[in-house]
């Protein structure tokens, strides 16, 4: 049986100096090994929700917190941020402002140093991660002389240093060129499939994730509007049409015009191949 990795139950949060709740009664569960997309417009509370997963909320950000977040059955309220760091790796949106060490290698070693891991183990773990993410060339570079994509790669490596089972990423491709973005997303897919990491990522480029994401959560004004597998979400009335990825969007427009979708239960194609197949089968 697959374990429940994340259980979010009725979570609400209001930042101390804010007038309204950034999260309102959000409830959902993530099984171990799933790849979850988190979508929502700017200010909808995506970052806030993600920060609940590694305990930054409520331990780091003060405010009114309600409900429970459980990571592998343990409430974040009963844990502290360092303990949660071992279970949940977090990568932030801004590549530059999350790297605090002088070289890439040191940034990767930083979490291990914080936990007092012996030096020889740190070295072998860093070797491992550098090989895994193909970072040999930038290993000894300064984080300020490498590209944004390489900075995010560094941040991902640092987030993986403690070998967490869950990886949380907050719009990590937002500042990147399309090419680096695809590189990062491909890598995340590999981490998910090969290394069994549970991944939850806030992401604007839904198109790029359709072939490997399991589920999608859509937030609006702090409320979880839809959550489920991609099919269910894209067919849901709650999901805004202007946020639909290209192929489903095209398909639904065509469907509206010329009625491609014969009966309402058939599936929406997500990729070009699926679209072609659907059109052929008509």
């Amino acid at each position: 049986m697959v374990e429940t990795a994340i259980k979010i139950d009725n979570v609400s949060f209001k930042y101390r100096n804010a007038d309204s709740f950034a999260l309102k009664r959000v409830t959902f569960e993530v099984a171990e090994g799933e790849f979850i997309l988190l979508a929502g417009f700017s200010g909808s509370g995506k970052s806030t929700l993600l920060k609940c997963l590694n305990g930054l909320i409520p331990h780091f950000h003060a405010g009114r917190f309600g409900g429970t977040v459980e990571i592998f059955g343990e409430s974040t309220l009963e844990s502290d941020t360092p303990q949660l760091a071992k279970q949940v790796g977090f990568v932030f949106q801004n590549p530059e402002n999350q790297i605090s060490n002088l070289t890439v290698e040191r940034e990767i070693a930083f979490p291990l140093e914080n936990f007092g891991v012996p030096k020889n183990e740190i070295i072998s773990r860093v070797d491992e991660l550098v090989a895994l993410l193909n970072m040999e060339e930038i290993r000894y570079r300064s984080p300020y002389s490498i590209s944004g994509g390489e900075q995010q790669l560094t941040a991902i490596a640092a987030a993986l240093a403690l070998d967490p089972k869950i990886l949380v990423l907050d719009e990590v491709t937002a500042h990147l060129s399309p090419r680096s973005a695809v590189h990062i997303l491909t890598l995340l897919n590999e981490l998910n499939k090969k290394h069994k990491k549970t991944i939850i990522i806030a992401e604007h480029r839904l198109d790029r994730c359709l072939n490997f994401a399991d589920k999608l959560a859509f937030l609006e004004k702090g409320q979880l509007k839809v959550f489920g597998d991609l099919q269910a979400v894209f067919q849901s009335k709650e999901f805004p049409t202007n946020m639909l990825p290209k192929i489903p969007s095209l398909f639904l427009k065509l469907d509206k015009k010329i009625g491609l979708l014969g009966d309402k239960t058939s599936t929406i194609p997500l990729t070009v191949d699926e679209l072609v197949a659907t059109l052929n089968n008509r």
Binding site: K51, N54, L56, F60, T81, P82, Q83, A85, K86, G89, F90, F92, N94, E96, N97, Q98, I99, S100, L102, E105, R106, A109, F110, P111, L112, E113, N114, F115, G116, V117, P118, K119, I122, I123, V126, R141, S142, Y144, S145, A158, A159, A161, L162
Partner: protein, 280 residues
């Protein structure tokens, strides 16, 4: 306004041989050299120190930057030398003034070199070795390291505000200072946001998870560091010996600008000559 000066703080990625010397050794060395340079007041010893400095600057990859900074320093130094030579009320004022100028050149070279070849990391590692709390050492190295980023961002903000019509280099001093306010607000805001994001990031990486933090790298004295330290101690001992025993330098080290070439005298002669020129 020029942000060029910030480049001085830039941590060099490409290391020079000087980078591999332990910062503790370098600190001792600069203390010894500073004491000696300030104590000695003869031209020849100053020139010897200056000549000894050149290979160090060369191996520290610092020659170009040093010469560039001297370009700005020389006018100031010249002014200091001339004023001292004219107005010092002692014997041989020109000699002392020249020593003063050489001293400034030497110290700018040594301090620049040390600045250039001590990485922010060296600073924090040294603090850790001296049992400062890790958070303090971290803050120092991070602050130092963000200076270039801050400079870059400041430039972006200046450009943005200029494109909105802000005139930074116009008007009198008071106006210019007032013009800085539209710059300071966004600069402060970005810095504040950065510090929050940085705090979130280190918190997510297990900051303060244990009291017994380990380090991937820590300072270790190598054989060449021992040499540097011994050399520094020797220089320092020499300084103490000269200062306490009050010995006089060997005769070949003592050279004074002859009376005939005293700057004051040359000035007076020139002055008379000019007066004669016009009185005719």
């Amino acid at each position: 306004m020029s942000l060029k000066i910030l480049e001085y703080f830039n941590y060099l990625e490409h290391k020079s041989p000087m980078h591999y010397i332990d910062p503790r050794g370098k600190t001792l060395f600069i203390i010894a050299i500073t004491c000696l340079t300030i104590y000695l007041d003869q031209i020849i010893p100053m020139c010897i120190i200056l000549v000894a400095l050149l290979p160090l600057i060369y191996f520290g990859n610092f020659m170009k930057r040093w010469l560039k900074s001297l370009l700005f320093l020389i006018p100031v130094i010249l002014l200091v030398v001339i004023l001292n030579a004219l107005f010092l009320k002692i014997d041989y004022p020109t000699t002392i003034a020249i020593v003063l100028g050489l001293r400034l050149i030497i110290l700018s070279g040594f301090f620049g070199l040390i600045f250039q070849t001590v990485s922010p990391d060296d600073i924090s590692q040294t603090l850790i070795k001296f049992k400062f709390p890790y958070s303090f050492a971290w803050a120092i190295s991070t602050a130092y390291r963000f200076i270039p980023t801050l400079a870059k961002e400041t430039n972006i903000i200046i450009d943005a505000q200029k494109s909105r019509g802000l005139q930074i280099d116009r008007g009198n001093l008071f106006k210019r200072v007032r013009n800085m306010i539209p710059l300071l607000i966004p600069i402060f805001a970005t810095a504040l946001r950065r510090s929050w994001q940085l705090a979130e990031a280190i918190e997510s990486r297990g900051w303060n998870a244990t009291k017994n933090r380990t380090y991937l790298y820590s300072l270790k004295l190598k054989w060449w560091d021992i040499i540097v330290i011994l050399l520094s101690l020797t220089l320092f001992a020499l300084f103490l010996y000269l200062a306490i025993a009050d010995v006089s330098l060997p005769f070949w080290m003592v050279y004074k600008i002859p009376e005939r070439f005293e700057l004051k005298r040359l000035f007076l002669i020139a002055w008379e000559w000019i007066k004669n020129l016009f009185s005719k």
